[in-house]
Symmetry: C2
Subunit: 341 residues, 2 copies
């Protein structure tokens, strides 16, 4: 048998290959692989939406600096974020947990305590799951089920030329939080007498360790009856998510660097770490903010009501996915999936 | 912090501890942890039901004798079996896959090929998932979504005194299939020149490697408009599942050994392996047959129409969960969860 290495194909290549052979046969299956959630029609005014995520120890988290309670919280939040990205509301989750015997019952209860706080916060019910043993690390697999009014569902593939591209919040902080934690881990490993220097980095650490799904924004959109033309959550970094929207919508995009939102602490920490702040924002990932598009005619009305940041616009030419730097230079944006293999 | 070992508490003890702190807040959440599926009400005549299962390499499967295509098939079938156990029909699945770089793209495609055959067979759509890397083995996490008419949903906790206890198919074959495979693995490891002796064990191997969810039986129940009083699928062994039905329904049970269904090959292989055939049936597990109860007044009518086997009856006294041996001796039945830790 031929042997193709995972690293030669990458995440997106693998998904493309697997998708080829999959087709939907049930009339209730509205949308399969290719968006933040799968979409199911139960014959009411609402779609049921569902998303699954796996968090693997040493790939997605490092227990030498991630508290178990935060891990539980984050596992829920990142899944709820996928529901938010469809303009939906989460209602139930199931939790699959594979654990090695190095974890005590109390450790597992810590993870669940964090999950419970997140469930209460996002008004989600933990309705089921599976707990099993693992030969090595900890693996958390979560499925979240939500609903969205049929006329409000927001896909990735529906951005239109001239749409305004917007984001919530600020970008790159979670990535710099990871760098701070990694630095202190190195320091500690070379000299266990040293105390970690985490003071002053609160915002970055919180963004990395305990991110929030932007359900507050989704509820605001809902109250004001505003529907984006396309939406996705920013888990892998702005560049990667922008590529998803553009390729799936068959459009291009121009992003203005000067409009990209970055917190002052993220900016300064990036400089101190000799990292380009633009890289943090474009490729950092794990911000769990929302990237979305609006019809320009609606945008002027909308911006008076809600706190969003316009960072660029959708172009008709799908071959152009570019960034205009502060100096005015135009550079192509590169996509990036995960590279864990 | 206190440290309680997983092995001291076991699967059921852990689930009980975790369940304590969980409560349901959304009115759409009808049933949480404690049955084969969680139950969600979307406001139609049907409930949405969902179940999650994790399959971990070296815990649930051994790739030295499990073909990847069979593994993919089995991963789907065992999840569909949970939908069957609620008297429901599966419609969608999501697949989470954590894979180390020792797997090639072609190997992953083999797993998906098996999943696709199962999806086609059970008329389920693969609508989403997550693919990530793992530091060691292969982990498959599946969530299956199905539906069931509200007036036909069958829980575990609704068995009534005097109900007839029934099973589909025969028991213990998957367990003996595992023993045959393990024996041949030992032989091969001690002398790689030896060819595995698998001829003649087809039925046992098929039951272990490519089990089927009993959707055929569920469809038959549906066509004939027959609704069991309680139902569960047999994944951990008859004894364990009987305990779930009894403790959750607050009833006891008496099982007649002479009525327990065993295939002749299972019986003979067990004898040859010096294993008690009764142990295969009671504690073997992985049969994925259905265990269910009927009102005795309906039973006589029902047995004329469908092929089921009565193995005992439900008792009012919940302290009695017993087996009457062929010789007439009464012995208590012991529950068994998994013991992977």
């Amino acid at each position: 048998m031929q042997r193709t290495e995972l690293k030669d194909v990458g995440e997106f290549g693998l998904i493309e290959r697997l998708k080829k052979n999959i087709n939907l046969q049930n009339k209730s299956s509205i949308k399969g692989i290719g968006d933040d959630c799968a979409v199911i029609d139960n014959g009411t005014d609402f779609y049921t939406i569902i998303s699954t995520d796996m968090l693997v120890e040493k790939i997605h988290f490092d227990l030498s600096y991630v508290p178990l309670r935060h891990l539980g919280y984050k596992a829920i939040a990142v899944n709820v974020s996928d529901i938010a990205a469809m303009n939906g509301t989460p209602e139930q989750i199931t939790v699959g947990l594979a654990i090695s015997n190095r974890f005590s019952i109390e450790a597992i209860e810590e993870i669940y305590a964090g999950m419970k706080i997140a469930c209460d916060n996002y008004k989600v019910d933990l309705v089921g799951g599976d707990t099993t043993s693992s030969t090595s690390g900890l693996i958390i697999s979560i499925s979240v089920i939500g609903k969205v009014q049929k006329n409000k569902i927001t896909y990735r593939n529906t951005a239109k030329p001239n749409d305004v591209i917007c984001v919530t919040g600020d970008l790159g902080a979670a990535y710099m939080g990871l760098h701070v934690l990694e630095r202190e881990k190195q320091v500690y490993q070379s000299n266990p007498e040293m105390q970690p220097e985490l003071v002053g980095f609160d915002y970055l650490l919180q963004r990395q360790l305990k991110p929030e799904a932007r359900m507050d924004f989704i509820h605001e959109l809902n109250e004001k009856n505003i529907i984006p033309t396309a939406m996705i959550d920013i888990s892998d970094g702005l560049a990667s998510e922008l590529f998803h929207i553009c390729t799936q919508s068959g459009v291009g995009a121009l992003i203005m660097e000067e409009n990209l939102p970055i917190d002052q602490l993220t900016y300064q920490t990036a400089i101190d770490f000799h990292i380009d702040p633009l890289t943090c924002m474009m490729n950092g990932g794990e911000d769990y903010e929302l990237l979305f598009t609006f019809n320009p005619n609606h945008y002027e009305k909308i911006r008076k009501y809600i706190d969003i940041i316009a960072i660029g616009k959708i172009l008709e030419d799908k071959s152009i996915i570019q960034l205009q730097s502060k100096a005015g230079t135009i550079v192509p944006i590169k996509a990036q999936g995960w590279k864990h293999f």
